[in-house]
Each structure stands twice: as structure tokens, then as C-alpha cells.
């Protein structure tokens, strides 16, 4: 081993400390770089979108292409209906699946099941759209809001199932034991004691998953298709906010672009509001990625 003189050691130590400071700086820089895009996007959303928000936007259907004016009532209504329908279909399956994972999933079968749920959550939404197209739209020879809602529900289920599982597992064991001690059968324990305790967490998950599917356009492209008239008929084509943003963003008219920004501002506003409310109310660390 080489012996170090005090000076050599000192120089080495200075170099190591400089390296440490440099890398800390790089980390801070990277963090700044990561946060900046969010503010850039929000800034342009507000700057370009605020001018397009007016009463007509909410109360009028889109005009014939090329005629300035009109609104996007059809898209707002359609998004509301399809997201609502998807949540209604998805919640029972998702909560059931989550309870299954938590209650009966502490074994090899549960591991596989959990894995499958995660895999389903990772499947691209466009392929989900094509699946539902083949499953519902082609046989019926009709684009329907119902098909759109099914596609959204397929994206919704794995997210809520996993959150439900986590929330059920968070319920203290003592509650369960107390119920058993009073002679309650398992089903009653789960339905009357465990699930009610887990409800706030499950609601959080539902809200976050809801805000995720509200922004999805890919699964609706070939299922709900879009419609320039307001419609409540779920067995025909229906409009949705993300679909209309897509159409307007690629279109040639300036007022379309302005309305696309306005719709995006509304959509992102709703999504961020849900995220903030959920976070302040429940303070959960669970986040859902688009």
C-alpha cells in the first residue's frame, strides 16, 4: 500500500468534495428540468385557452366545419355520459377483483392474478380500443357510446382493483378479529366492517382513475367515434372532449385551434382539481399515471 502524505490526502479530499458538490448541482438541475415542462404546459394552456372559454362553448353544438362560432356541448355531454357509464360498469368488477386479491390473494394464485391486473394496466389504450371495436362495433355494425364506455372501463378496472386491494389490506387486523369474535361470517365481516372502513381510499382510487379515463382519446377513436351533435343515445356514436381536441388540433381553422386549447384547459383543470382535492382530503400517496 502506498502511504499518503497529508497534502495528498488533503488534495484528494478536496477533489472528492468538489465532485460531491458538482453532482449535487447536477441533481438540482435535473429536478428543475423535470418541473419546468409542467409549468410551460400550464402556462400555454391558460394563455391560449382562456380566450376561448365563453358561454357558447358550453351551450352550443359544434358548427359546420368552417363556420366560426359554436361550442363543444356535444363533447362535454358525451364525456360525462361515457365516463359515468364506464365508472358504473367498472366499479363492481374492480372492487370485486380488489377484494379477491386482498382476501384470497396471499398465495401463488393471487400473485399471478395481481401480475395479470398489472399487465392489463400496462396495455396500450389504442389496442384496448381496437379490441372493443372487434368485440362490439364490428358485430353491431355501429359505432356506439356503449362500446366507448366499455373500452374506458377496461382501462379503469385494473387501476381501481389494485388501489382497492391496497386499501383493504390497510384496514387494521383488530377490526377483522373483532368481527370474527362476535361471530360474524367472513362475507359479513368484509361487507359490513372491512369495506366501509376502506371506502375513503377506494373513492380516492375511483376519482383518480376517473380523471385518467376522462382524458383518454385513443380507446374512443374507433368505438364512440365522435359526433357533432349532442346525444344521450348510448347506442349511437357520441362525442368526447379528448376526441374533439384531437379533431380540432389537426384541423385547418384558427377558431378550432382556439377551442381545442379551451377544451384542453377545461379538461386539465378538472383533472388537476380532482388530483388536488383527493390529495388534500385523503393525503394519499397513490397516484395514477395517464
Amino acid at each position: 500500500m502506498t502511504a499518503y502524505s497529508a497534502e495528498q490526502w488533503e488534495a484528494g479530499y478536496r477533489r472528492r468534495r468538489a465532485m460531491n458538490r458538482l453532482m449535487t448541482g447536477v441533481m438540482v438541475l435535473a429536478t428543475a428540468m423535470a418541473v419546468i415542462p409542467l409549468f410551460l404546459i400550464l402556462f400555454y394552456l391558460i394563455r391560449n385557452g382562456i380566450g376561448g372559454i365563453n358561454l357558447d362553448l358550453f351551450t352550443q353544438d359544434p358548427n359546420r366545419p368552417g363556420r366560426v362560432g359554436g361550442g363543444v356541448k356535444s363533447a362535454l355531454m358525451g364525456s360525462g355520459i361515457m365516463v359515468g357509464l364506464a365508472v358504473a360498469m367498472g366499479v363492481p368488477v374492480a372492487v370485486g377483483c380488489g377484494v379477491f386479491l386482498a382476501e384470497f390473494g396471499q398465495n401463488r394464485a393471487g400473485l399471478v392474478m395481481r401480475f395479470l391486473v398489472d399487465v392489463l394496466a400496462g396495455i396500450p389504450s389504442i389496442t384496448v380500443g381496437l379490441f372493443v371495436y372487434g368485440l362490439i362495433v364490428l358485430p353491431q355494425k355501429q359505432f356506439t357510446a356503449f362500446a366507448g364506455a366499455v373500452a374506458l372501463a377496461i382501462i379503469f378496472v385494473p387501476i381501481v382493483a389494485r388501489i382497492t386491494e391496497e386499501m383493504v389490506l390497510l384496514v387494521p387486523r383488530s377490526l377483522r378479529e373483532a368481527a370474527y369474535a362476535l361471530g360474524a361470517p367472513r362475507w359479513k365481516t368484509v361487507l359490513r366492517v372491512i369495506l366501509p372502513t376502506a371506502v375513503p381510499g377506494i373513492v380516492t382510487g375511483v376519482m383518480l382513475a376517473l380523471s385518467r379515463i376522462a382524458g383518454e382519446a385513443a380507446p374512443l377513436l374507433f368505438t364512440a367515434l365522435g359526433n357533432q351533435f349532442s346525444s344521450t343515445d348510448v347506442f349511437h356514436a357520441m362525442d368526447a372532449l379528448p376526441l374533439r381536441i384531437f379533431v380540432y388540433a389537426t384541423g385547418p381553422y384558427d377558431y378550432w385551434h382556439e377551442q381545442a386549447w379551451a377544451m384542453s384547459l377545461i379538461l386539465v383543470g378538472i383533472i388537476l382539481a380532482i388530483s388536488l382535492i383527493v390529495r388534500t382530503l385523503f393525503g394519499t400517496r397513490v397516484t395514477v399515471r395517464q
Binding site: I41, Y44, C97, E103, V119, I123, P124, W187, V268
Partner: protein
């Protein structure tokens, strides 16, 4: 992390005597809900394979590398789309991982909770913005910036490298890569953060006691320990980038050819489906697009499986929910 109690089964003897009919019904119902998920996954593969059959029969395996995409002549190969997908996703992944891991290290090892919690939340908010909004921003803000300011500078300095010697436009590979990097950053950051936080305390304390600086601690004991988990985070980001549809469709320029420079317009698998499926020219065109979807499905499936196995290796024992 909060401790979790696993559900206890009722005592055996009690179970035998008092298993109510309700329990069977209850078990049946939740098992059915779980079965729905399995059915959906099997259905996805079956339905897409079935509908893509004409194309699979006609073009066989060469569909994957053939780059001819000619709807009128009914000649189809997904090679150009697969290449476009891989280029955009992999390059975006490298950029997002470089930044994401540094951010994760900052949040876990450097910043105090008062800083790391809000910053962490802000980065994760990036994931809450819908794909189509990214696309809109890409077309009207990022695209013009790349065409007018950033692109020309890049060509000036790096133009001697063939792949940079192009004409920056609003849409093209480069725009898609930048958008994708931002979109998968929160995924890579959040998973890396959880993985790094899961590195045992003893790993840190051991090397600090030997006199290491913080960076040396990160380099010598944290990164090697978290390596496979960070790789998993990156691969999960890859799965997301590969399947990303609308943002990419809006900014990639949509041209069915192998790009020569990073400014050229291209196509990804997801974007060609989004762009052409509504206006298919013939049945074979539709079947070919469905086969593209099938290839995409298989690709993301395999990537997801790999990612989760890698993450599981590091966080085994701890429950980390990764929702994609």
C-alpha cells in the same frame, strides 16, 4: 410505509363448523370479478389475432421487417412502424431515465421532506396531463420552437453527423422524442424513487461510516443496489412510450418510411393505427392494422413482464403499487 396486516382467516375449527352459504356466494362473486380481468386479457389476444388473421396468413413473419406499406396494392409490412416506435421510445427512454434517476436521487437522498414532497407531486402531475393535450402543446408550442430556434442551432453544431443533417419541421421524430421523454419522465422518476427509497439504511450507513461523501455513497452503495429496480423503472417507461398514441400521432409527422435523420417525419405503430384505421381502403388494410395492434400488444406485454420482474427483485417483501 404503513405496516399492513394480512387478512387472517377465521380459526380452522370455527371455519369448518360455520362456513355459511353466504361465504360461498361471496367468494364466488369476488372470484368472478377477478375472472373478468383474466377473460379480458385472453379476449384481447384472441380477438386481435382472430381479426388480423387475413394479414397474418398473407404476409407471415415477414410482416415484422417488411417496410412496404401500400394500401392500394394491398402490400403490408410493419417494419417502418416498428423501427419508428423503437427509435422514439428508446431515445426518449434514455433522456427520461437520465433525468428521472437524478431527480429520484435528489428527492430521496438530498432534499428534505418539505422540499421533496411537493416537488415529487409536481413531477407526478406531468403524468396526469392527457396525451392529446401533450399533442396539442407539441404541435403549437414545441414544434414551432424546434423548427425556428432549437432545430437550426442543433443542425449548425451537430449537422456534420449524418443523423442530425436534416430540416427541422414542426412535426417529426425529434418532436415526438421530446414529448415522449416528458411524458414518461414521471413514470421513471416515481418508480426509481420508490426503488431507491427501498435500499436498506445499512447500505447507506456502512459507507458513510467509512468517510464517503454523499455522491460516493450514491455511486458506490445505492446505485448498484437499486440497479435492477431502476432498470425496471426504465423498462416500464419504455412500455409506456411504445404504447403512447395521440401525442405521438399529432407530432411525429406520419410518413410510412424509415427516417434518415432525427428531423424526418415517421410513424409509430400506435400512430399509424390512430391515423389510418378510421379510413381503411380495403379489408386487408384493416387486417394489417389489426396485426400492427397485435404486434404492439405482444411487445408491450413482454416489456411489462420484464419490468415487473426487475422491480420485484428489488422491492420484494415491500409492496410498491405501480399503476400504469
Amino acid at each position: 410505509m404503513a405496516t399492513r396486516d394480512l387478512p387472517v382467516n377465521p380459526p380452522r375449527t370455527a371455519l369448518k363448523n360455520r362456513l355459511k352459504p353466504g361465504d360461498w356466494l361471496f367468494t364466488g362473486i369476488v372470484a368472478l370479478a377477478a375472472a373478468v380481468v383474466v377473460i379480458i386479457i385472453i379476449g384481447l389476444f384472441y380477438e386481435l389475432t382472430d381479426r388480423a388473421m387475413p394479414s397474418i396468413r398473407a404476409f407471415g413473419l415477414s410482416f415484422i421487417w417488411d417496410t412496404t406499406w401500400d394500401p392500394p396494392k394491398q402490400q403490408f409490412g410493419a417494419g417502418a412502424f416498428i423501427i419508428g416506435t423503437l427509435i422514439t421510445a428508446v431515445v426518449a427512454l434514455f433522456m427520461a431515465t437520465a433525468v428521472g434517476v437524478l431527480v429520484a436521487l435528489f428527492l430521496v437522498e438530498v432534499a428534505s421532506p418539505r422540499i421533496s414532497r411537493p416537488v415529487s407531486y409536481l413531477v407526478e402531475l406531468l403524468a396526469a396531463i392527457p396525451s392529446v393535450v401533450y399533442g396539442l402543446w407539441g404541435v403549437f408550442v414545441l414544434g414551432p420552437f424546434i423548427r425556428d430556434q432549437f432545430g437550426p442551432v442543433l443542425v449548425d453544431y451537430l449537422g456534420w453527423i449524418p443523423i442530425f443533417d436534416g430540416t427541422p419541421l414542426i412535426t417529426g421524430l425529434f418532436s415526438a422524442i421530446v414529448i415522449l421523454s416528458v411524458m414518461i419522465l414521471p413514470t421513471v422518476m416515481a418508480v426509481s424513487r420508490d426503488v431507491i427509497a427501498a435500499v436498506p439504511r445499512s447500505q447507506r450507513e456502512g459507507i458513510l461510516a467509512l468517510g464517503a461523501t454523499r455522491w460516493e455513497m450514491i455511486r458506490i452503495s445505492i446505485l448498484p443496489y437499486a440497479r435492477s429496480g431502476i432498470l425496471g423503472a426504465a423498462v416500464l417507461g419504455l412500455a409506456r412510450a411504445v404504447g403512447e398514441t395521440l401525442a405521438v400521432t399529432l407530432v411525429i409527422g406520419n410518413r410510412a418510411a424509415i427516417p434518415g435523420t432525427i428531423f424526418d417525419p415517421a410513424y409509430t405503430m400506435a400512430s399509424v393505427i390512430a391515423n389510418q384505421f378510421a379510413e381503411v381502403e380495403n379489408d386487408m388494410h384493416r387486417a394489417a392494422l389489426l396485426e400492427v395492434a397485435l404486434v404492439l400488444l405482444i411487445m408491450t406485454f413482454l416489456i411489462n413482464v420484464a419490468a415487473r420482474l426487475l422491480i420485484w427483485r428489488v422491492t420484494r417483501g415491500q409492496r410498491v403499487v405501480v399503476l400504469e
